[in-house]
Symmetry: D2
């Protein structure tokens, strides 16, 4: 039904060996300008300021999520047998396209615009002017809406939603392995082969055979370590604080920098398309010549890595000192917003990982794993971090 | 003072890249017949019956422990500066020789002899007839006793004892990485480089800088996973049960198999030296011709991998069925001795891992790590396993 | 037609991730006592005396060859489509069983018996008393002969013969990767994924698409380096010389060592089955008490790694010195037989690797690859090596 | 003498584990804005259009070359003992800074400016306005000139020049390993540890002990394969042809695009500093609105990966067809300049790799290695490639 590519297209990939593409619609999505733009959005925001090799973009990650998803729907018999070809296409397309809506420096960008990257992704897919929309429609009129339904977590088949976004989804499976590889750390590694081998579908829910439970424990710990060691690293956050502060100042004064002007109002899809990290960097170059000393300073800090210093859980006295010494420099004492829940390795509050026991019962992971049960008892004690210029010495 | 080898001797090693040897005494220990014998003792007992590639011996592991220890005393400035050359030699020799006293199938062997492998190791080192003793003495009369003191955990410098045996010792650091590599699993990996980089010595205690705490958490999880996935794998245990039962029977009947006869009494060092796994295998070949049907059957099972089936935590009914069906075959229903504590990833009951905080205080790991604190709350619920022939079907 | 296992059996493997078994006949061959015996035959003979970690046996390698072959017949569309199910089973069984006939220390053993390991393999498969024969026959009466025909290179479908033994066969693809992994060297690595992806079948010949030619060049170099760095390493050869000389002496004197006595005449399959490396090692232990001083000395050297020294391409004067100094010790000056051709990375004399060009023509590799053409011009200058005891000093 | 950093600074790196920095001057160079700019220059120009994961920049590579060089001058005893501290600093700084002068898309950029990247690097280091110049001078007035002398290959100590640029230099050692890692191919791997272990200094020349010769052969093959498989990949070249053609057109018409205007004349160091790949990308965005249709088309092709098709070694007829069909589109038939010599794995014309034989003689590699001798006989038959739009079909 769905048109195949002439032969299987393969793309060399350090994480999965090869990415395999067999459907023309997937190939066309990959070649759309909206997808190609992902080469210009770092996967890890400011993390390459800490892990210098982590310069990879959302392009490779998106391909990786697609590949994990493709393996789920073709190599896991239990899933392959339960889905129609058109459901498989829809979920693979959703995997490939799920990050289209990321702006520069990913999560930072959401803080200066009013819509989430998920919402933007859906707008792009729904937009008849976008090349991805056209690629999907060329195959099947209803495909854009099917993909959006999956991304919204509203598809009538829960299994599709879960494959893209849940506590055990293709997205995380790829990014943990990829980010570990690119940073050069070993924390994010877990046994993907075994996880895939033990995946099952049961009552239209994604679950894991009991014999795969230890790989799941390992995966959860991998995620936990990546959060602490990479995603929430204070120097990476320091860089993102510089970005945030630059734009806070920019919005408060009236001096226009041409490439940043669109940011003063909600962006159209076309404006969003152009707003990649290259454009941002050029904007910071322009800001080096701004009349505003604060913009000039932050642009220099961003371009040339003059990061702020930081303290974790500062005491009263330290805060007092910093406030005293920076009382005339309002943009230079920055408190990071709390990362609620990020410091917990696993929670079953909103959704669960399901284990299919040897007696064919579905149980939440925490009922099967001694160690996960222990982890659930961890308290969420987010560290509070405060950032300030390195030339300020406190004791 | 201590004689050097002409140039650094290097041995290619898959885990550490190279093993580096610079002292003649180490080189001579390595070339002793007692050390060479370790090539004939599997590192993982019966685990190659499950993980077919895990055929490595205690030889490579012993070199690996030596190498980790060598790096500690030369590359970790804080340790290097605190030890005399003679203490460094002693601890490196202890690392190299710590497993000399392992009998065939390692831990199994201890169950049929009255002394532990640690005790045997010390007897060999103390024995003037052994080549290792002679190698040590040739360098320094007191060296054998120094090494023994470290192995006994009685050296006056606690740091030396801890490097060889503690919750964070060179032994574990090597075996986790090596066993993961050889089995082809990823569970045992942790960041050895980072652990070494953050080791410190403080009050003559081994400790870890706070910035290395996450690698320690990772190391603890690695150990936990290796226990579950490899060391206590039921099929590996099944093989060891066969060995144990063979010898239980052998001791109870009177038919002599020449190579096994010495096992009826405590072994001299010389007898122990000859008792390697090759000799055992030959003995099982001989037992294929035994007049005793039970010996014949177990020898066949051992040589040709006819493992028993097993049930974890059998219920009353299952036990009753098995007892009923096997009531005339007394050796064929085997209950595994409990592995108390093995199922816990970390405990601070007997010893602790110490963290050197950013404020230069020594604290037990559990006071610093949220996740370790959670793990300490895990209950020790050892699985009870029961083994029986595969031709017995129960429901 | 052919019976499947209940579910896919998977075995963890460090080289291929998992070994996948789907047919009952393969599973039963694997569980035969002849196959289990391979755990007691080192893959690399005396190489673990140089690369201490290379202690792996022919068991894992045989599984690996099977797995490469299985991937060829299921994942390479061009091959999968050209073979019947029964041909696939036959070639996979041939891959699994091709090394059954290896004696202790592999190639050495052939020098003291009159039949090659290939010949022994076929005798075992043809022997109605062997468990492999029974496993094959249980599936299909004709299977043993089919397998033998492939191993003899006489199957009517040349493609099957080539998959098992040619310049580009499953055997080499596994052993290069595996031996590199186990020794801890990087020389043997090449891109198996890409080689598999570019394999084709053409005129019932195995060939490689031109786009895979560089992986083939890489594979050829990998093989070349492994020969020089591992397979022909002088210290490994030194060990094998000790074995050969021990038995040369043993055959010349009359003192019986029970476990070695069968070697005085051609072995039956049953005697061969028992003749594993464990039995040999036990025999060397016995020889430590021989009345013959030469046997005692060589047994000690073998057990305890007292290797001979060696010179490559000795000059006249060196040979004269050694002959002079060893004139009363006839067994102690050993010249290695020449390894003709082993030092050449690739030759097209007996068989070729075929390239399928972009214009769909079949050409020998040397006509396509500039670099291989250059390599063919290399002269075969085998090094001549001479071995002697380390206590003999020459200048 | 030279000021140390307070403690060793370490940066996590996927290739070398960690980058170690112990001197303040190196640390300050690293923090200069000229060095930070390297994050905005891809290491592999257009290769990420083929190997999607190869998005790494010259920043990590420069750190890697520094680290290899640091290991040479500290871990290779023979080199460490032969150099003064100030020579070591100079060569490590040269290693770190050797790529400062790379413009966008590296080698492409040289084609549109009149100076080589080497010349630009030296100008930046010599420029009192540059932060690297200031960092070097702060440590030692003469350091900039010392570094430049090394980069010019004119330092009075040849060993320093060779470490940075020769057939066996720190630059290649890092880029082969790094580019292999980032592309996810295995071609570029060789045994760096062994190469470093066998490096020696002899007559102030870098050479390799004979026992390391096989690793050198492997390194040479690695380089050869990387050229064919990665560096000269036609799709990567296709992308660079688009860039070149865009600027060819841009220079011929009069429509200004602000960010590209400086390229019309030789760039000052300050202009060069701003000319990074982010700025270029923004320029292509601007060009999407150009009045010139050709500029618009090429900008779209560059941003959205509409690559040209290509033919290798086209025949007369193919060329004729293309010329006919593209006769009205002068920019759309592109012939690639020849890569003379790139297709040869090794040559001794301009410089040699030296082997220190077991008899302590220095010989060119080709006299020692049979295989390299064969490679020298390869003919340099550069492929001629021609590029054209994919919508042109020829037969």
């Amino acid at each position: 039904m769905f048109e195949r590519t002439k032969e299987t297209k393969v793309l060399r990939d350090p994480i999965h060996g090869y990415i395999h593409i067999r459907y023309r619609v997937i190939w066309n999505c990959l070649n759309s300008r909206e997808f190609q733009r992902l080469h210009r959005i770092h996967q890890l925001g400011g993390d390459f300021q800490v892990y210098h090799a982590a310069e990879h973009s959302r392009f490779g990650h998106s391909l990786g999520v697609y590949e994990v998803c493709r393996r789920m729907v073709t190599e896991v018999d239990s899933i392959a047998g339960a889905l129609s070809e058109s459901e498989k296409i829809a979920v693979m397309a959703a995997a490939l396209l799920h990050d289209l809506g990321h702006g520069p420096y990913s999560h930072f960008f959401e803080s200066i615009q009013d819509i989430s990257h998920e919402e933007r992704t859906m707008r792009i897919i729904a937009d008849p002017a976008s090349e991805v929309h056209q690629a999907l429609t060329a195959e099947d009129e209803k495909l854009p809406q099917e993909v959006i339904r999956i991304l919204k977590h509203e598809h009538q088949r829960p299994i599709l939603n879960q494959m893209i976004s849940s506590q055990l989804d293709a997205d995380r499976m790829d990014y943990l392995l990829r980010d570990a590889y690119e940073t050069g750390t070993s924390y994010g590694t877990f046994d993907l082969e075994r996880v895939l081998r033990t995946l099952r579908i049961c009552d239209d829910m994604l679950c894991v055979k009991q014999s795969g439970m230890h790989s799941i424990e390992d995966y959860i710990m991998a995620r936990y370590h990546m959060y602490w060691q990479v995603y929430l690293h204070p120097d990476a956050k320091s860089y993102e604080m510089l970005l945030a502060t630059f734009f806070k100042r920019y919005m408060e004064i009236n001096e226009p920098i041409e490439v940043f002007e669109p940011l003063r109002h909600p962006l159209s899809n076309e404006e969003f398309f152009l707003m990649d990290e290259c454009r941002m960097m050029y904007g910071f170059q322009c800001a080096l010549n701004s009349k505003d000393a604060i913009l000039r300073d932050f642009a220099d800090r961003i371009l040339n890595r003059r990061l702020f210093a930081w303290i974790e859980n500062p005491n009263e006295d330290q805060i007092r000192q910093l406030e005293e010494r920076l009382k005339d420099r309002p943009y230079y004492l920055i408190e990071e917003p709390e990362h609620k829940g990020s410091f917990l390795p696993y929670s079953e509050e909103r959704s669960k990982i399901w284990i299919l026991t040897n007696r064919n019962e579905l149980k939440p992971l925490s009922q099967c794993s001694e160690i996960v049960r222990a982890l659930l008892k961890m308290e969420d004690v987010p560290e509070k971090r405060i950032f300030y210029p390195k030339d300020i010495a406190i004791h």
